[in-house]
């Protein structure tokens, strides 16, 4: 979708022309920038409130971003491959509802959990099928399944709230991993992040995903199974989001149809803040970990400073804008200098 090259650029004799691309060193710059923002927010948080560095507060920070961060991991791979999945939070919500529905219908929890994960895989498969087999644009498809999956959750549970889950499970959601200040969701996120990091950066599959996102045609000409890989990423996203749904349910000890409504945008924000290009082909898992931590830390610091929680969007939105403008700043500055008049292409406006 991103052929924004002009006529001149098509010329074989212009090897240097084309988009301005960041190399590995600038990735590192991006991550160190995030690191600095993270440290700064930790410092400000500490100054703002003595409770900030307490282990109880660390636990709170973790709880506030754990589920979203988990959803952000497979989403990162999908965005790197040049697609998008806006149905992540609805998949989470449907998984949560299914968990509640089966529970009130008397299923044993040991059976419910695998069933929920399988259904998660199915939801991902549906997205993958529509995108890879039917060739539909993933933005529109996943806006559709965002509504569809949330709608199915609503059909399952209606306005019921299921909250009589066994305490042995719900405590998982609200107690830290023994010996650490981290909630289980963060522990699972970190383990998954490690696995995702290795897969993305040290395996043939990971390299293929980056190649697909940069240039799907060249990837196919190198024997990379573009559709198959995209399909698997969507299935993976489904499974991981339903895992997040299980954790989310146990954390709140309630299953409701509108659990996590709207969180898809938070997940997308973390991914973009992590330096992952909306056009695909660029990004790191380390960035996602740092972005999730930064979002959690800033949100918590603001909360301790009595900043209204609903207004946090102001900060995240601002960070998101900075994250897209900073990497382009040099190019933009150049362009505004020597500018505009000559009917130049505006580039592709959407990822």
């Amino acid at each position: 979708m991103l052929q924004a090259e002009t006529f001149e650029l098509k010329d074989d004799l212009h090897p240097e022309s084309g988009k301005n691309h960041l190399d590995i060193r600038s990735f590192l710059r991006w991550e160190s920038g995030l690191g600095i923002v993270l440290v700064a927010s930790l410092v400000i948080g500490t100054l703002a409130s003595s409770q900030f560095l307490s282990s109880a507060n660390f636990f709170n920070i973790g709880l506030s971003v754990g589920d979203i961060a988990i959803m952000a991991l497979p989403l990162t791979l999908i965005v790197i491959s040049g697609e998008i999945d806006l149905s992540v939070a609805s998949t989470l919500g449907l998984s949560s509802s299914l968990l509640g529905y089966l529970w009130i219908h008397g299923w044993p929890i040991q059976l419910i959990l695998p069933v929920v994960l399988v259904v998660g895989a199915l939801l991902g498969f549906i997205n993958g099928f529509l995108v890879t087999k039917l060739g539909l644009p993933s933005l529109a498809v996943t806006i559709g399944t965002l509504t569809l999956y949330r709608g199915i959750a609503l059909i399952l549970l209606g306005s019921n709230i299921v909250s009589n889950f066994p305490a042995s499970y719900t405590t998982i959601g609200v107690t830290p991993i023994p010996g650490t200040p981290l909630p289980w969701s963060v522990g699972i996120f970190l383990v998954l992040a490690l696995i995702f990091g290795v897969v993305a950066h040290f395996t043939p599959l990971g390299r293929s995903i980056f190649a697909i996102g940069s240039n799907a045609e060249a990837a196919a000409y190198s024997g990379i199974k573009v559709k198959q890989i995209k399909m698997r990423l969507y299935i993976l996203s489904g499974v991981i989001c339903s895992l997040a749904g299980i954790l989310f349910t146990f954390r709140l000890a309630t299953a409701e149809y509108d659990n996590a409504t709207g969180l898809e945008l938070n997940a997308v924000s973390i991914v973009l803040l992590a330096g992952v290009s909306i056009f695909g082909g660029r990004g790191t898992i380390l960035g996602v970990v740092l972005a999730a931590a930064t979002v959690g830390a800033i949100g918590n610091a603001l909360l301790l400073a009595n900043f209204p929680q609903q207004a946090m969007g102001l900060i995240f939105g601002g960070l998101l804008l900075i994250s897209v403008f900073v990497p382009n700043a040099r190019e933009l500055a150049l362009r505004f200098k020597g500018q505009l008049s000559k009917g130049r292409l505006v580039g592709s406006h959407r990822g």
């Binding site: 010329d11 074989d12 090897p15 290795v198 043939p204 190649a211 045609e217 060249a218 196919a220």
Partner: protein
């Protein structure tokens, strides 16, 4: 014929350099009102560069461009259009979702009261232009689904609505059927009789003599000769185009007595090519020649699996290969250096090392993981073997020159030790020195027992490399020549004429 009058457009002494590549050394052409002037030459002769100067896409580094005696400088395509010069490309850029009439009048739509678009007037104006061109095209249909021929007609209509005095047609007939070519020529005749000057670029010499009053020959970026078509003939044009002793491979044809390694049987893809059968033996270089648009690249991509064919069979070493699967083709030992290096061959924004390793990820694993250092070492080895000139292997491949980019693509495939390698336009847009190296690499590969299929529009290249030459025209195999008996003239004849040529 108005040869006594002054030219409408006159280009002289035009030079254009791209770094070390001298695309145009001496571009020279005069266009006269009411006449068609053909520009012929082999690929790389500088025709495209010259067209782009007329289109306002390139600014020449030296030379004069005059319109009706006054010197002009085109800084953008708009300047060219405003000066009355329109370029019709082989594949025009239209708005597929808009109607034909809107495509013609985009942003210049006739208006009625309150600046509203006058659709009826616009459609009538479009109809009037089509009537003038004597073509039957509905102005109210969408541009989506127009054939290339029809798209060209729309572009011509657009340039007429802009009152263009000069229309440049850049290889318009390459992808047209003979019926469509006839129609285009009728349109061109109409244009001429209304006083438009036409610059006509074509590989098909018969067309030059049918349509044009004058012909200019270019070679290696230089003007060679200009003549009236009535005072020259095809043979002398071909001699002027070739203009040099053709280097021939000195070594003997190999592979003929060996069993075929790559076998292609009755390969057919509706609308693109039909009933293609041939084989390539280990150690043999076979060239697939023909005009651009004859279906050569389509056959190559079908063999490699990125394009699914309808019928037929592809076998390597006697074993049939699953169609439509590049990974199956690669597992069987086939490699493809594709036609469009930037779009298909390379992931431009990724590193040189990553691009070289792209076909070998699985074999680079150690304990299941790939480390960048392994990848870099692997890439460094192959860069040395292929003498790739680079700053740093971690730099993006877009920092390399065209020739070195092509070597990166070759390295990607050679590092997989393929049994069959297909190379599509291996030296397009790369400088002479690197060209020779690429040729040497291809011949060395063959010597080491690889079956090589070369697709090239450059006849000297074909003659230099190939043991056998197959010629395609309009989606079919129409001729086969042995290394010893092939000549440029014979190949051109087979690729352009409508009767089948069978060499003995």
């Amino acid at each position: 014929m108005s040869s006594e009058t002054d030219p409408v457009v006159s280009l002289s002494g035009a030079k254009k350099y791209f770094g070390a590549v001298h695309a145009l050394e001496d571009g020279r052409i005069d266009l006269y009102a009411g006449e068609a002037h053909a520009l012929v030459g082999e690929n790389g002769a500088g025709k495209s560069t010259l067209v782009k100067i007329f289109a306002g896409l390139h600014r020449p580094d030296a030379g004069r461009l005059c319109i009706e005696g006054k010197e002009v400088v085109f800084n953008s395509p708009r300047d060219a259009i405003q000066s009355g010069v329109a370029v019709i490309y082989q594949e025009p850029t239209l708005f597929p979702d808009l109607t034909v009439a809107e495509n013609i009048f985009m942003d210049r739509q006739p208006q009625r009261s309150f600046h509203r678009i006058d659709y009826r007037g616009m459609n009538q104006a479009a109809r009037a232009i089509f009537a003038r061109l004597e073509v039957d095209l509905d102005p109210t249909r969408l541009a989506l689904g127009l054939s290339i021929a029809e798209q060209q007609i729309v572009e011509i209509a657009k340039s007429l609505s802009l009152e263009a005095r000069v229309i440049v047609m850049d290889e318009p007939t390459a992808a047209l059927s003979s019926v469509e070519v006839d129609r285009l020529f009728r349109v061109a005749q109409t244009l001429k009789s209304s006083g438009v000057a036409i610059l006509f670029i074509s590989h098909r010499l018969d067309e030059v003599f049918t349509l044009c009053e004058r012909v200019t020959v270019m070679r290696d970026g230089r003007f060679v000769q200009a003549a009236f078509t009535t005072e020259t003939d095809e043979d002398s044009l071909v001699r002027a185009m070739v203009g040099r002793d053709v280097e021939r491979r000195s070594d003997q044809v190999r592979g003929v007595d060996l069993k075929p390694l790559l076998e292609v049987e009755h390969l057919t893809l509706e609308g693109l090519f039909a009933d293609i059968s041939f084989s390539v033996a280990a150690g043999e270089v076979v060239a697939l020649s023909g005009l651009v648009g004859a279906g050569r690249s389509e056959v190559a991509t079908a063999i490699f699996g990125v394009r699914r064919y309808d019928y037929g069979k592809v076998k390597v070493g006697g074993k049939p290969i699953k169609r439509g699967s590049p990974s199956a083709a690669m597992a069987a030992g086939i490699g493809l250096v594709p036609e469009d290096r930037r779009l298909q061959g390379l992931v431009m924004e990724q590193s040189i090392a990553r691009n070289i390793a792209m076909g070998s990820f699985k074999s680079l694993r150690r304990k299941g993981l790939i480390r960048s250092i392994t990848e870099t070492r692997f890439a460094a080895d192959w860069s040395v073997k292929l003498q790739i000139k680079y700053g740093n292997l971690a730099n993006s491949v877009s920092t390399l020159s065209g020739g070195n980019q092509q070597k990166v693509v070759l390295a990607k495939w050679m590092s997989r030790s393929p049994k069959v390698l297909i190379v599509d336009e291996p030296t397009r847009g790369i400088d002479i020195g690197t060209k020779a190296e690429v040729h040497r690499l291809i011949l060395e590969l063959a010597k080491s027992g690889v079956a090589v299929l070369v697709i090239s529009s450059e006849l000297p290249e074909v003659l230099n490399l190939a043991d056998r030459i197959l010629v395609m025209r309009e989606g079919r195999l129409v001729g086969e020549f042995d290394h010893s008996e092939a000549t440029e003239e014979a190949i051109i004849a087979a690729a352009t004429l409508s009767k089948e040529v069978k060499a003995a």
